[in-house]
Symmetry: C2
Amino acid sequence: MISMIRGCIRAAPCATDDDAAVMPIGRDDLVVCTDSVTFERHMPEGMTYEQFGWMAAAVNMSDLAAMGATPIGVVSALLLPKDMETSQVCEIMTGVDECAEFCNCHIVGGDTKPGNGVASVTAFGVMEGRRPMTRKGARVGDVIAVTGELGAAAAGFLALANKFDMPDAVSALCAPIPRVEEGIALSSSGLVSSCIDLSDGLATALNTICSMNGCGAIVEWDLLPRSQYVDEVCSRLGVPDRELTIGWGGEYELLFTFDRKDAETLYELGVDFSMIGLITENDVVLHRDEKYEALGYGCY
Amino acid sequence: MISMIRGCIRAAPCATDDDAAVMPIGRDDLVVCTDSVTFERHMPEGMTYEQFGWMAAAVNMSDLAAMGATPIGVVSALLLPKDMETSQVCEIMTGVDECAEFCNCHIVGGDTKPGNGVASVTAFGVMEGRRPMTRKGARVGDVIAVTGELGAAAAGFLALANKFDMPDAVSALCAPIPRVEEGIALSSSGLVSSCIDLSDGLATALNTICSMNGCGAIVEWDLLPRSQYVDEVCSRLGVPDRELTIGWGGEYELLFTFDRKDAETLYELGVDFSMIGLITENDVVLHRDEKYEALGYGCY
């Protein structure tokens, strides 16, 4: 769909292959991204309106974070059922505002119309002299790293569905933390060769990076910073841990690559990350239990 | 709804009472606005998908124009029925892109998800050193002026509904021209005391300006630059011309005010505008046929 749309509009001089665009303004770079969430697709039973609002902002803040931009504002276009109560609309906007506050900025505009339950948020940020991190740039031999932990959102989804009492996992799903501070720190280092967020899951994100850079990757299962909730949910439900850890989306950690000689300098930034593999020449594979298997695109 | 939402979020330092927000970036001012259009509310029978896309962009460009900003880019979040054909999606994006091109900028990002037929567009502009025009500032004694002609969009709506052959009126409705160039020229003059677009119709726009500035207004019916299509549609359908001229929305001209001593300087800008009345102390009235009647809010 994206390539089809690109075929019918003029190419923007500032177009990137990323989820956010970069536009020069004066001496700074403006970074812009837009994304919609809907009641139907993004609001599992148990998610509050406030969390829905947070989510609507967070998915966009995460796109800014992947470029290393400093958020400066968001606008939200809501399309909401006519029978929604005023207090519920307020809860959504409170959630958007709380996420904006977490990212040190404000809601600066918006629009509300009747509709089916959609929040289209546009977030913008500035680079303040830093070079934007993009998906393009990973080189053979680079280390692959991810911030935070993996799989908590997927575990939260199954916890909600099965009424398990796992508030932290549910929170990872319903109010994900966009890695804005981490993105700013990583971009300010100038050492990151490529970066992407995990909104579509690790498997899809890494395949995207590899296909964009004409390279492969090897990921070590034992190095993946798996959330404790993955193990707990998997053992209670008897489901395999691979899909939850790398196949699901709704995860807002950053995946990034860098030259291995820079590992120490990056650790000194104070960003919490784990090195999970290496960029290689060809296939994208997962190494687990002494076997290599193709790391296909995730289910998201 | 707007005031309710404002009550539940933190006030943005850059908040205005206008449809667009202004944020300082470096030495420039970034202007941002967002607005959604939907198949259900904004796509009368006879409107093409391309026109729908143009409209989605134009309503936002018009908000930039009212501030006098120079557009630098748009992003579009589409929510479209799953059974829409690829070519139809392309037509919408072509329409957005054509409007962006008319305004000298590009589509820089977007998102497409399944949904009921919504295009949420966010437009960005910069002031390039000009002072943003706002709704606040009209003073008693100021002249009230509008760009272009009034009522063509309303006439176009009735022409479509009644299958009258009036392509220019239908075009005014379905592919309205955002007054971006005019807005830039007016703001560069530094002589405009307040400005608003006519997206909700002249009556509502002028009442908004007056209530925001604690003043009244008198509008001379005979000075209104009425589109020829208003007369034609009204005589064919036997409907009164007042509502079509000032009561309907979907009009994207600019209404602005200025000190009467500056009229000549403003005419020299080359902007096509008509002086239609004066800002007064109290009531908002229309003077027609030697009678004064309240100029209430329009039907939009």
